[in-house]
């Protein structure tokens, strides 16, 4: 074959693959955009509740005259709209798109998934209204009243089955590491959610056993559903955006299987100091420590993949968000493992530190990765580029700086709060090391004084929340404008043209 026809053939082959890829993307268009639309709606709703709850922490009288807006309702409303609305909806969208792409298979009957999305989100809406109306169960992470979970389970079952159907249709025979994570997540979540609901509400087990079931569920929902989906996106998007295979595929599989092996054990570290058998808690601590293996391998792998390509962080919004998220994954996981140690936990438990950690994981890691994924996915589905590069920059810097300030304020303030609370005797264990935090003569700080001091950090949190809100508004604007086809049509929607012709925004 001579050079010219060889080149022509390469072009043809390229076009063939690009067409195929755009067909696969297109088959997921409607359900994925529906999931993302719901996700953005819940993101804004959840942010509003978050701001309200945050302000109430330092201004207890703020909007407290109306029962629906009291802290005890707004705070669980924040947790549940964010967790089951924003987080899960965005995860479903990313998961479906990734599964279709990685399986190299088109999604069949997308309307089924649209129906599933409506069922799921109806459940979340009913649950949220019920919480605001005072019907919350007051069981953390499961505040939706008892009639909501069955709705969610039906919606979820449809989504899970349909993801497996895409997987079964796969034409790419190799199961990429992202697919392992997705399949794991699809399998783990229903078992966790149904078991927890059955054992806590339908056939309640006795006493502290409920607490251990709850935290087995609560911790694993984060670890065995949210984290794997975000890691699946990271393992796909970093190599894909920079155009370089993952540094060590072997390490990525070690990461997955050790993750699958250890995470499930870690939940009981939420109950350190509680009236549970010590061995049960120790198991949780050991599980948390073992998490250094998957976290370390994953961090190393992503870093080594990125080495030499960090300059691309300037040009790709996807990469910015995803790399930020990947770094936060390492940070928050290691922080979490250390928090599980009894000596550390003794200080941090029941303080603002825990809230800082929770947002480090669920926001700085998960949410940032989802933003990055959506920046990559949405233009490939709508065929329109993002309207404004400046809005993207505003979104990134507001959310990134906002969450850094948030985590810093909560962890810093929480740690001091914890030290002061733990120091109950004049010569307590921390009198020497924490002299600056305690009173000059080493005597315990009165409780009200501790509360007063923590107000500074609570104010900081509200400021951070405000900055993050600005970022969310920028993102929601971009998302809506994209759906309404403002801006430039994508020259390579799903990449029919060469990359060099990508239109500047």
């Amino acid at each position: 074959m001579n050079g010219v026809s060889g080149q022509a053939q390469a072009e043809l082959e390229r076009e063939h693959y690009a067409l195929e890829r755009s067909r696969i993307d297109a088959s997921t268009r409607v359900p994925v955009l529906v999931f993302f639309g719901f996700a953005v709606f819940w993101l804004l709703t959840g942010t509003l509740f978050a701001l309200l709850a945050s302000i109430k922490m330092h201004m207890p009288g703020f909007l407290a005259d109306h029962a629906w807006l009291t802290f005890g309702r707004v705070r669980p409303a924040h947790l549940n709209t964010v967790a089951y609305g924003w987080v899960v909806d965005s995860a479903f969208g990313v998961m479906i798109w990734l599964m279709a792409r990685l399986s190299w298979a088109e999604l069949r009957y997308p309307s089924l998934l649209v129906a599933a999305a409506c069922i799921w989100n109806t459940g979340v809406l009913i649950g949220t209204v019920a919480i605001l109306a005072g019907q919350g169960t007051s069981v953390e992470w499961l505040e939706f009243p008892i009639y909501v979970p069955p709705i969610l389970v039906v919606g979820y079952a449809l989504i899970a089955v349909w993801t497996f159907v895409i997987f079964r249709d796969r034409r790419e025979k190799h199961v990429y590491v992202s697919q392992w994570y997705i399949i794991g997540a699809m399998f783990w979540l229903p078992w966790l959610y149904v078991t927890a609901n059955l054992l806590i509400f339908w056939f309640p087990v006795k006493g502290v056993l409920q607490a251990s079931v709850l935290w087995w569920f609560g911790h694993n929902t984060i670890g065995l559903f949210f984290s794997p989906i975000a890691l699946a996106a990271v393992y796909y998007l970093i190599p894909k955006v920079i155009g370089r295979p993952v540094h060590s595929y072997y390490l990525s599989l070690i990461g997955f299987w050790s993750f699958a092996l250890f995470y499930n054990w870690a939940g009981t570290h939420h109950l350190i100091g509680g009236p549970l058998p010590a061995w049960l808690i120790t198991v949780g601590i050991v599980g948390s420590m073992m998490m250094f293996i998957p976290v370390g391998t994953t961090a190393l792998n992503h870093h080594m993949t990125m080495v030499g390509h960090f300059n691309q962080l300037r040009y790709s919004p996807t990469l910015r968000f995803v790399v930020f998220g990947a770094i936060a994954y390492t940070g928050s996981s290691m922080q979490g493992s250390l928090e599980a140690l009894r000596d550390v936990n003794r200080i941090t438990h029941f303080t603002h530190y825990t809230i800082g950690h929770a947002h480090f994981g669920l926001y700085a890691f998960f949410t940032m990765v989802m933003f990055g994924s959506m920046y990559y996915i949405v233009p490939r589905l709508t065929g329109w580029e993002w309207y404004s590069a400046n809005l993207i920059r505003a979104h990134f810097w507001c959310t990134a700086l906002g969450i850094i300030l948030y985590v810093f304020a909560m962890c810093w303030g929480g740690w001091f709060q914890g030290v002061q609370l733990a120091h109950t005797q004049p010569e307590g264990p921390f009198a020497f090391t924490m002299r600056g935090v305690l009173r000059g003569d080493g005597s315990p700080v009165p409780f009200l004084e501790i509360v007063r001091q923590s107000k500074f950090y609570l104010h900081l949190r509200s400021v951070a929340g405000g900055i993050i809100t600005v970022g969310h508004l920028a993102f929601a604007t971009l998302f809506v404008l994209n759906l309404m086809r403002y801006g430039q049509p994508r020259s390579g929607p799903t990449l029919l043209a060469k990359q060099k012709e990508v239109v500047a925004v």
């Binding site: 990685l102 790419e172 190799h174 993952v246």
Partner: protein, 75 residues
Amino acid sequence: MTVGYLLLLGSVTIFGGAAVLAFWWAIRSGQMDNFDRNSRTIFAPDEPIGEATDMILAPKKMKAEVLDEFEQDWE
């Protein structure tokens, strides 16, 4: 309580059993055979290795330059 024990027991067998089965299947079906090739399955002729796929924050001119540079690095 019986339900509790059944669920816990089921949890252990289904969680653990599924993981063992999945791992066994992965080895049997050759998923672990060629790591180098497997890591490349996300690339195809339309989006080959060495080509960035998301550059929308770069000014137009720079985009071409960066990509050229990038491609040279790979050659």
